[in-house]
């Protein structure tokens, strides 16, 4: 059951609904009463993507279809998921990182129009491979998007991810990581910045299947107006996955009375000698910090923007690729002004 299945079969009963525990805050069946026609092949002129300037190669997937011309440059790869028009489409792609290889994957979701779409990405990172994945989701207010990534790590692999989104009409960014340990590390970070009536759901599932693996997660959200943020983070430590070290943090600023944040951190631990911790806070901007900044002469609006940007900046600072980090920082700053 998935949005992609519903689009491919035309069967609305395939849509996840709020009766599904994992989808209760991101109901699609209640939202989509009718599926639009399939998206057109012809998307018209497509401009530059947000990461083109720093990428060694660019792969474009337009309305679910891979555009020819991508070069398999193994260094910094931009993956542009472009949606145009008001149709429905589903696309999929696969990325693999070989043993000893390092790849920076700069994924951007660039929607225009009230499309309904799903994009599924399959990622495999071999032993001692390293992948840093940045997912910048810039979609219109009337679009519906589900992005699913299934990540399979080999023992000793390094995987780091940062999702940055401003939401959409309804939006789910889901990442599932199979983590065999063996000295491997996964970092899964996220930022959601929601205004108006936008919705974003960041869902992660990390399954530790072997000894000696680490997971480090930090997600931060800023929700104003009638925005709605959802964070679901699950860490499963399977029997035998001893010496797992997993940390999860989710912190949200709720800047209006009508904004909403739903968070569900879950740790399921079936192994011994495991260090797991999670922290979750939802609140307003720190009034003490605000007054302190104003007392020093920073006008209230400027102080609020500075503190909000700093709040989210902690996640942005963790992006390892410097060029990507600065592009994301500028994108975030523009949306908080």
């Amino acid at each position: 059951m998935s949005l992609a299945r519903a689009i491919e079969t035309g069967n609305l009963a395939e849509l996840p609904s709020r009766r599904d525990e994992d989808w209760r805050w991101t109901d699609l069946r209640g939202l989509i009463r009718e599926l639009p026609a399939a998206s057109s092949d012809d998307a018209g002129e497509i401009g530059a993507g947000p990461f083109d300037a720093i990428a060694g190669a660019v792969t474009r997937i337009v309305n679910g279809r891979l555009r020819p011309g991508a070069v398999a440059d193994r260094g910094v790869l931009a993956l542009r998921i472009i949606s145009r028009g008001d149709g429905a489409h589903a696309g999929r792609h696969a990325v693999s990182v070989a043993s000893g290889e390092a790849l920076v994957l700069l994924e951007s979701h660039e929607g225009r129009g009230a499309h309904i779409s799903e994009f599924d990405l399959s990622i495999a990172v071999a032993n001692s491979g390293r992948l840093e994945r940045i997912v910048l989701v810039d979609e219109p207010a009337d679009a519906v998007l589900v992005s699913r990534a299934d990540v399979t790590l080999a023992p000793g692999a390094q995987f780091a991810q940062t999702v940055i989104t401003s939401g959409a009409r309804r939006q789910r960014i889901e990442t599932r990581v199979a983590h065999p340990g063996g000295g491997g590390a996964a970092r899964l970070d996220g930022v959601y910045l929601l205004a108006d009536q936008r919705h974003a759901d960041i869902t992660t599932v990390v399954t530790h299947e072997g000894v000696d693996g680490t997971t480090d997660q930090l997600t931060k959200g800023v929700v104003r107006d009638q925005g709605r943020g959802v964070f679901q983070g699950r860490i499963v430590v399977r029997p035998g996955a001893d010496k797992t070290d997993a940390r999860m943090g989710h912190h949200a600023l709720v800047l209006s009375d009508r904004a909403e944040v739903d968070a569900k951190p879950e740790l399921e631990i079936f192994a011994d000698d495991v260090a797991c911790a999670h922290g979750n806070t939802v609140g307003a901007l720190d009034e003490d910090a605000l007054f302190y900044a104003e007392q020093r002469g920073i006008p209230e609006d400027q102080a609020r923007a500075m503190l909000t940007e700093a709040f989210v900046g902690e996640v942005v600072d963790r992006i390892e690729h410097e060029g990507a980090r600065e592009i994301v920082r500028a994108w975030v700053a523009e949306r908080l002004r």
């Binding site: 007392q295 020093r296 002469g297 006008p299 700093a310 902690e314």
Partner: protein
């Protein structure tokens, strides 16, 4: 210069300041001493315009201008500075960024040219050196993970950079060991100037051995109940605040 007349203020409807009057001439340092709960911190927050402190009567002017009508940042731009009893941590904002933002916001508000990065760095490097603050610390998020003494020195560094007309030091000695106290006091003393006034709020006389006030006021029950020269601080240290405690009405037997 600072003129407080018959000031009353309440928090959540509870009166804390009750007809407080105080004149602080330019260039002078006055100490405000008083028992816990006398309204010392309330006074500092009312002067700086913190939300939740309701002024119910009286006036406060700085060089003739009504302070109470201004927002906190406008007051700061007019030269009002508060050294916090408990300096706030600002995660994610390096001390250098915070201070330069504040300095230039004040300058813009006053219609002055902003200070460029080279001049700013040169100035703050010198001031930090005088206060024995490691310059590298200024690249870290302001006050995050700083010790109590480091936070207090950061307050004085901010004061030195912002060069206020009225500096209010709220319990600046609390949490300081004797060496840190000396450094902080030297920093404060170096800033004494004919056009700068200071209000030193303290529970103990200890700080006043290092920062010699021109006058000492006793704050009790929300108003100034006694004023005198520096020797008053020593009397208080010896005799305590008991004689200034509000008189209890005894019911007839």
């Amino acid at each position: 210069m600072l003129s407080i007349r018959n000031l009353s203020a309440a928090i959540d409807g509870k009166t804390i300041l009750n007809g407080l009057s105080l004149e602080l001439p330019a260039g002078e340092v006055h100490a405000i001493m008083g028992p816990n709960g006398a309204g010392k911190s309330t006074l500092s927050y009312v002067l700086t315009g913190r939300d939740g402190y309701e002024v119910t009567a009286g006036s406060v002017t700085l060089n003739g201008e009504d302070l109470l009508a201004l927002s906190p940042s406008e007051r700061a731009a007019r030269g009002v500075f508060l050294s916090f009893q408990y300096p706030i941590e600002i995660p994610g904002v390096p001390a250098l960024t915070f201070l330069r933002t504040a300095l230039n916001a004040q300058r813009r508000a006053r219609g002055e040219a902003e200070m460029g990065a080279p001049e700013f760095l040169k100035t703050i490097r010198a001031r930090a050196g005088e206060l024995k603050i490691d310059f590298e610390m200024l690249r870290r998020a302001l006050n995050v993970g700083f010790s109590g003494g480091e936070k207090k020195r950061m307050e004085i560094l901010q004061m030195a950079m912002l060069a206020p007309k009225l500096a209010i030091l709220d319990e600046t000695d609390s949490g300081l060991d004797i060496d840190a106290l000396r450094i902080v006091a030297e920093g404060v003393n170096a800033m004494r100037a004919p056009d700068r006034s200071m209000l030193v709020i303290t529970h103990y006389q200890r700080l006043l051995d290092y920062i010699r006030p021109d006058r000492v006021h006793v704050l009790a029950g929300g108003r100034i109940v006694a004023s005198g020269g520096p020797e008053l601080a020593h009397d208080l240290e010896r005799e305590g605040y008991d004689k200034y405690a509000p008189k209890l009405e005894t019911a007839p037997a």
